[in-house]
């Protein structure tokens, strides 16, 4: 695996600069059932295609941002700070 991401704060860097926080999922707002909680904690959609993800610039500004990446090609479509991410 080798590609680059553009940190909204620092610029374009190798993927090894970053930690991936996995796909963006919605934390339940109300008390979930045990099954819903299990899904939230342990299940991922794991799409083969474009997915929205959290990334952390570990070796840089140490800030989180969101990105859309094609999991098949590792093409990163865009990155943005959470406030500026297009609504999904």
């Amino acid at each position: 695996m080798s590609f680059v991401l553009t940190c909204p704060h620092c610029g374009t860097r190798e993927v090894t600069d970053f930690a991936c926080g996995g796909e963006v999922s919605r934390r339940p707002r109300e008390r979930p059932t045990l099954r819903e909680l299990g899904d939230y904690n342990y299940f991922r959609r794991n799409v083969a295609g474009v997915q929205r993800e959290w990334w952390y610039h570990r070796s840089g500004c140490r800030e989180w941002f969101v990105a859309e990446r094609d999991t098949r090609t590792n093409e990163v479509l865009w990155t943005a700070i959470p406030e500026e991410a297009p609504s999904s």
């Binding site: 590609f3 190798e14 800030e63 700070i81």
Partner: protein, 921 residues
């Protein structure tokens, strides 16, 4: 043997000599020589012994492609003598021969070994009797391999720097095509990197009389702004990243477009004795002449399939080598055998159809079996190859996006300049730079004949793969045994898996495979091209052999005090100062001082700081009064313990959060993540490195503090869990009254710059009270006496606060949601099946941490997480996960430790000061 008269493009400097040793004997070289060219001048013809049969091997390609000249340089094996420049004082040694290169005992395998060493011999010959395998393995391991690694880390030390280089265009290969591509792209405005593996860019132009043109182009490229990486080997193509290894630098080149001008590899011919020293590829022979002014022989026979061999014959003749015979496959003539014991003494030439043959005495047999485009990198980038029957090799049939090829690899070697220029213009144009390239003109190529898979097979060993000593017969045998696909045969015979990585053997193996199976070459296909394309020392990939270590600002003092220093996560920490039990006792009897600068330290500030922490921790921090401290356990949304630490509220909007030493980075990341998601009005500052911290604890700690600060340290004025800002020894500090070790304690946080000053001041002030420094190990004993958990030691990824006997930390009645709430609500309703408890060992054994706790029937149901002898308590204490039904004071548990069964007694309360009266006093 002397040098030839000056050659037009020679690389040597005849006025400068260089001396090195080969197997202990001094060798004189000229500056510009390679190890191999110097040895060749000195008369050496055998450069190595082969992998399996220990046959003599001599120079073949002279271009760093084949395995024949691998040597060790200054103890490092795997160096190619034909490309490694001779350096003053270097120590060169042969590989894979004992006692010497000339007298190799293992050469016996060549004479008798055929029957014992067929493909897969280590599964066949050496398998019975089974019990002898360990012995066989030892012998085979000794016999195998191409050199010995240096023994110690110091000797192996390899200083490689990583460099990341982003560019518009990367051109791999600095022959005429690559140079023209780089120049065209750069002149159109692109940022271009050119990597060439040779000691000098120019490729074949350097040996075929076009050296001046090549050298001018290199200058033109530099002038156009191209970064030229000389002796820079492109190792592979990894999703657009091409690592280029150049001496002590590994460039990680990421370009938007790639031009591969990797050329073509001249192929050997497969015939009897084709590995004998004196059999040389035509390009190799020309390199010796043109670059080093060395005559490769005196009487040469040339066997070729194209004009390439004839051109070489002319060049050799011009250098004074007599060409005594030529076999041109296009006229039906080829070479059937090379004869000679140590070196070629004669060649047997004949008609391919067997209708005639003749024996010609010679000391050099020049072969040219066509060429194979060097498609590996293109294939790794996603290109596809197909069999090209007209030229008898696999050529590029389909290119991936963003990739172009130029020159010989593209089949356009006859117009390298035009082909390169077109590729360079095309990639630049794709990037929005310059003009579109003119439409390509077809390139005329000379006629070539396709050699038979093998000739002269009845006359001796015909090697298809010289790296791994695989003969044409071996491939026949492997097909008979059912390994009838090229990928299977590769794994069984190891053809293409040696140092040449298929450069010399892929095509011969495919031809033999096609012959044996009756398939077409297209159907046989090639093996998958995998990185690395060129052998590379692992050290070059691993980077510098340095383990980053963190040291506290006080660290030099620990050294001076004779501390045993050990790793604790990323940190180097004082484990003890010689006597951990005595250090622990000093804390109980007088006072102890420990460096806890490794704790993670986060400043959480802002109007919503309290609310933010309330959402992260299962307990409440918004209600904490300024100047007060509360312990906190971080849980995940699955309710599992992630980290723990103390939080001191400094003022209305500021909280000082400490984390475990090893968890600092993860906690910062975790906090920052939720902050990014929740977007609360909070700022987060990691002050771990900026602040040092020490813990002064013990019955005399208060008196010592009185000497260091103006603060009223009485229990009434400065109570347990108070946090105060004051000067300690004159240094502005934050003092937390907390007690991880069970005695009255003050954790003092202050700027790292004053680390040693404050440490010294405390030890000075405490001297009359008997203060002693204590290390990590006594701290572990002391905290175990209190049953304070160490996250990661006593807990794992399954542990909840309920299981870890800390239900009081979870405030399920909090109105607001917090991370882990729902899982903890569930956990509260479904009691944990296991519980973390303390235990004592009546018999005084110290169980191993990790030992199993057994139930009545001997099944493991839990494990010991911590165990220590405590001199203070006069007994062995520990903590363990046990079935919940055994989590009662006095219950007996059985511990299985190294086949012994030990009995332990459960104790759920702290072993020392169970009610915390000492701590609060």
């Amino acid at each position: 043997m002397s040098r030839l008269p000056q050659q037009p493009g020679e690389r040597i400097d005849r006025s400068r000599t260089v001396r090195f040793t080969f197997d202990g004997k001094e060798v004189e070289a000229l500056r510009g020589d390679t190890i191999a060219s110097a040895l060749y001048v000195a008369g050496r013809r055998t450069f190595s012994r082969s992998f399996k049969y220990h046959r003599r091997r001599g120079l073949l390609c002279c271009a760093g492609q084949c395995p024949n000249c691998l040597v060790a340089v200054d103890g490092a094996p795997g160096v190619r003598a034909c490309t490694e420049p001779a350096r003053e004082g270097m120590r060169v040694e042969h590989l894979n021969a004992s006692p010497s290169l000339e007298h190799d005992a293992m050469a016996i395998t060549d004479a008798v070994g055929g029957a014992f060493t067929p493909p897969g011999f280590y599964y066949k010959t050496f398998i019975r009797p089974r019990r002898l395998w360990p012995l066989y393995e030892k012998v085979l391991r000794r016999a195998a391999g191409l050199g010995k690694l240096r023994e110690t880390q110091d000797e192996r030390e390899w200083r490689t720097e990583y460099r990341r280089r982003h560019a518009d265009v990367l051109v791999v290969g600095g022959g005429l095509a690559g140079l023209h591509a780089a120049i065209a792209a750069a002149e159109a405005g692109a940022d271009v990197v050119l990597a060439d593996e040779g000691p000098e860019p120019g490729g074949r132009a350097l040996v075929n009389g076009r050296h001046e043109e090549a050298r001018a182009l290199v200058q033109q490229a530099r002038d156009a702004g191209v970064e030229v990486m000389v002796a820079g080997t492109a190792l592979g193509y990894f999703d657009g990243l091409v690592p280029v290894w150049q001496g002590d630098t590994l460039h990680q080149v990421r370009a938007r477009r790639h031009v591969f001008a990797t050329g073509a590899i001249e192929q050997p011919l497969v015939f009897a004795g084709n590995d004998l020293p004196g059999v040389m590829l035509s390009e190799g022979a020309r390199r010796l002449v043109s670059l080093y002014a060395v005559a490769p022989g005196t009487r040469a026979v040339v066997a070729t399939t194209s004009d390439r061999g004839l051109e070489a014959a002319r060049a050799l003749e011009a250098a004074g080598v007599r060409i005594v015979a030529t076999a041109d496959l296009r006229q039906g003539q080829t070479v059937l055998a090379a004869e000679g014991r140590k070196h070629v003494t004669a060649a047997v030439l004949g008609a391919v159809d067997g209708s005639s043959e003749r024996r010609v005495e010679c000391d050099l047999l020049v072969v040219s079996g066509g060429s194979a485009p060097a498609t590996s990198l293109v294939a790794q980038a996603g290109g596809r190859t197909a069999y090209d029957a007209a030229h008898g090799h696999f050529a590029i049939a389909e290119l991936p996006e963003h990739v172009r090829v130029a020159g010989e690899v593209a089949g356009d070697g006859e117009d390298a300049a035009g082909s390169g220029r077109a590729a360079g213009l095309a990639v630049a144009h794709e990037l929005g730079l310059g003009e579109a390239p003119p439409p390509a003109r077809p390139v005329r190529r000379g006629r070539e004949a396709v050699p038979p898979p093998v000739a002269g097979a009845d006359r001796g060993k015909c090697f298809a793969c010289i790296c791994e000593d695989v003969t044409a017969k071996d491939i026949h045998l492997s097909v008979e045994e059912g390994y009838d696909s090229i990928e299977l045969s590769k794994r069984y015979t190891t053809t293409t898996m040696g140092p040449c990585q298929g450069r010399m053997c892929q095509l011969p193996a495919v031809r033999l495979m096609a012959q044996e199976t009756g398939q077409s070459l297209q159907d046989v296909g090639t093996t998958t091209a995998r990185p690395p394309w060129t052998a590379v020392p692992l050290g070059a990939l691993a980077g510098r052999p340095i383990e980053p270590a963190k040291r506290s600002a006080i660290h030099p003092r620990h050294r001076e005090l004779g501390a045993r220093v050990m790793w604790a996560g990323d940190w180097r920490r004082a484990y003890d100062y010689g006597d951990p039990q005595a250090e622990a006792l000093a804390v109980h009897e007088a006072a102890g001082l420990i460096d806890v600068s490794t704790l993670g330290k986060l400043m959480v500030r802002g109007p919503e700081a309290g609310a933010f922490l309330d959402r992260l921790y299962p307990n409440r921090f918004s209600s904490l009064a300024p100047g007060r401290i509360r312990y906190g356990v971080l849980t995940s949304d699955a309710g599992r313990i992630m980290d723990d630490g103390t939080i001191c509220r400094l003022d209305e909007e500021s909280f000082y959060v400490t984390t475990t030493s090893s968890g600092a980075g993860a906690v910062e990341q975790w906090f920052a993540w939720w902050l990014a998601d929740w977007r609360m009005d909070v700022t987060l500052t990691d002050v771990t490195q900026g602040l040092a911290a020490v813990n002064l604890a013990g019955p005399r700690a208060r008196e010592i503090m009185g000497r260091l600060t103006d603060l009223d340290c009485s229990n009434e004025a400065f109570a347990y869990l108070d946090g105060k800002r004051a000067r300690v020894a004159g240094v502005a500090s934050l003092i937390l009254r907390i007690g991880f070790v069970g005695e009255v304690g003050y954790e003092i946080h202050f700027p790292s710059a004053y680390g040693q000053d404050v440490w010294d001041a405390i030890l000075d002030a405490g001297a009359e009270f008997g203060v002693k420094p204590f290390g990590l190990e006594p701290q572990r004993i002391l905290r175990l006496q209190k049953q304070h958990i160490l996250v990661g030691q006593d807990t794992d990824s399954e542990s909840t606060p309920f299981g870890a006997a800390m239900p009081w930390i979870v405030k399920l009645d909090k109105d607001e949601d917090f991370i882990g709430k729902w899982a903890l609500e569930h956990a509260a309703e479904h009691p944990s099946e296991t519980a973390l408890v303390g235990f004592t060992m009546p018999d005084g054994d110290v169980p191993t941490e990790g030992a199993a706790v057994l139930d009545g029937s001997g099944e493991p149901v839990g494990q010991v997480t911590s165990a220590r002898h405590s001199r203070q308590l006069g007994q062995v204490i520990g903590m363990a996960w046990v079935p919940a039904k055994l989590a009662d004071d006095g219950a007996t548990i059985t511990i299985s430790d190294e086949r012994r069964q030990l009995s332990a007694s459960v104790m759920t309360k702290p072993f020392y000061d169970p009610e915390g009266e000492v701590l609060r006093s």
